[in-house]
Symmetry: C2
Subunit: 226 residues, 2 copies
DNA sequence: GGACAAGTGGAAGCACCCGTCCACTTGTCT
DNA sequence: AGACAAGTGGACGGGTGCTTCCACTTGTCC
């Protein structure tokens, strides 16, 4: 991102600077996982043992830092789709895939949200998402062909499910840490071909993209009263 | 709430004060509906044409104001359950009910969140919720008895669904205003008895209560990067 | 119409977080 | 070892929102 043509993120940096950069990313990973994407930058800096100035010079916007912090997890996310394609049973592969990524959401408060957003400036990051999406599309095709996935299942339904799961996770928090498993159970059964009553139309891809883009400026969301 | 023993909320107030109170509640309803529960108090005051001081004296905490603003909608919420019970077809009643309250969430950003929270100090408010809950429990019983609702459907599943729908609504926002309908379609099909693969256990009532209680102090949630 | 309680509004103090800027430190290269 | 670029941290100015407080206004009742 901030490096010229380098294969590795921190190339060209002085060794101490590179060490700090790695610390920052590690600290961000922890902080995002524990508290979600909106932890104060200063907390991350303190956790990394650097000043805020250092953090901002390396990652000028929060989105940059988020992209750096979740790059590895985003790769794992893409790998999961690839692995699911390797499953000999298309339907089983589909179900395990959905469960896996929902579990990834459950394990990291930051990732919960990251999977419902897009970060157009983070190239490698979005490339992983695109790979995952392509493999998932293939996965859907196979599962439909096998007659197990309902024919009207749309690729847009996956991000929608992730948004729903994010809602369950953030609302329930630690009060019922496994509730999301049941929820995903419901979703998967709704995806089965046998229960294929007609559904309202899915959102258009462009609509989902706009939704995942979010407002670019200052902005908040839910939050509790008092 | 702020009145001694009165049947009506604003009893005992000077007429001008009562007029202001009503304006405040009306302004809060609008503001919450448009921007969610975390609109600045000052915006509400300005919309009502009063000073913040007036607002705070009448409703000392945000929760008080939220309860006042959504009391009517909460009654409507309870009525919907009662009406659903009147439906001669238990399954149809169940489906219409779920669709109705999800539509109520979709129509009001504040209510989206309100339905996933509890406000223990707002007596009348929570009484409506309890009525709705009791009727919903009856609704479930009937639909199960009719063999249409899966036997392992739990009353705790409804609040979980509302949390999920809240996730869809807040993430998608205005980008795909009807996406929630499709989502609810999925949920309902998953509730049908015919698709009754076993599910993970539901959360305990106490867990759901704790979840809906939220943290009582300062606190934020998702929010986007950048 | 006068007196007093009730009600009002908005300024002020506080807390939080963002993002910048620059005097100082540290690595690196010769 | 010296010199210079690279890197650092945290103080600072700016913005937002919460909540309190009190000098002033306005209804109400006699």
């Amino acid at each position: 991102m901030s490096s010229p043509t380098a294969p590795h993120a921190g190339a060209g940096l002085r060794v101490d600077a590179e060490r700090n950069r790695q610390r920052i990313v590690a600290a961000a990973r922890e902080a995002f996982a524990e508290h979600g994407l909106d932890v104060p930058m200063e907390d991350i800096a303190r956790r990394a043992g650097v000043g805020v100035g250092t953090l901002y010079r390396r990652y000028p916007t929060r989105a940059d830092l988020v992209a750096a912090a979740f790059e590895a997890k985003m790769s794992a996310y893409a790998d999961a789709a690839r692995q699911a394609l390797a499953d000999p049973d298309p339907w089983h592969g589909f179900c395990v895939y959905v469960e896996t990524i929902c579990a990834m959401q459950a394990g990291d408060r930051g990732f919960t949200t990251v999977l419902t957003m897009t970060f157009p400036t983070a190239k490698q990051f979005e490339a992983s998402r695109d790979h995952a999406f392509a493999d998932f599309t293939a996965l859907i095709g196979r599962a439909k062909a096998a007659g197990r996935l309902r024919a009207d299942f749309s690729t847009e339904d996956l991000p929608m499910f992730l948004m729903a799961n994010a809602g369950v996770l953030t609302s329930i928090g630690d009060a019922a840490p496994d509730a999301w498993r049941r929820f995903v159970g419901y979703l998967l059964q709704a995806c089965a071909a046998q229960s294929a009553q007609p559904l309202p139309d899915p959102p258009a891809p462009r609509q989902m993209y706009r939704a995942m883009l979010r407002a670019t400026g200052r902005q908040r969301q839910q939050r509790a009263g008092r």
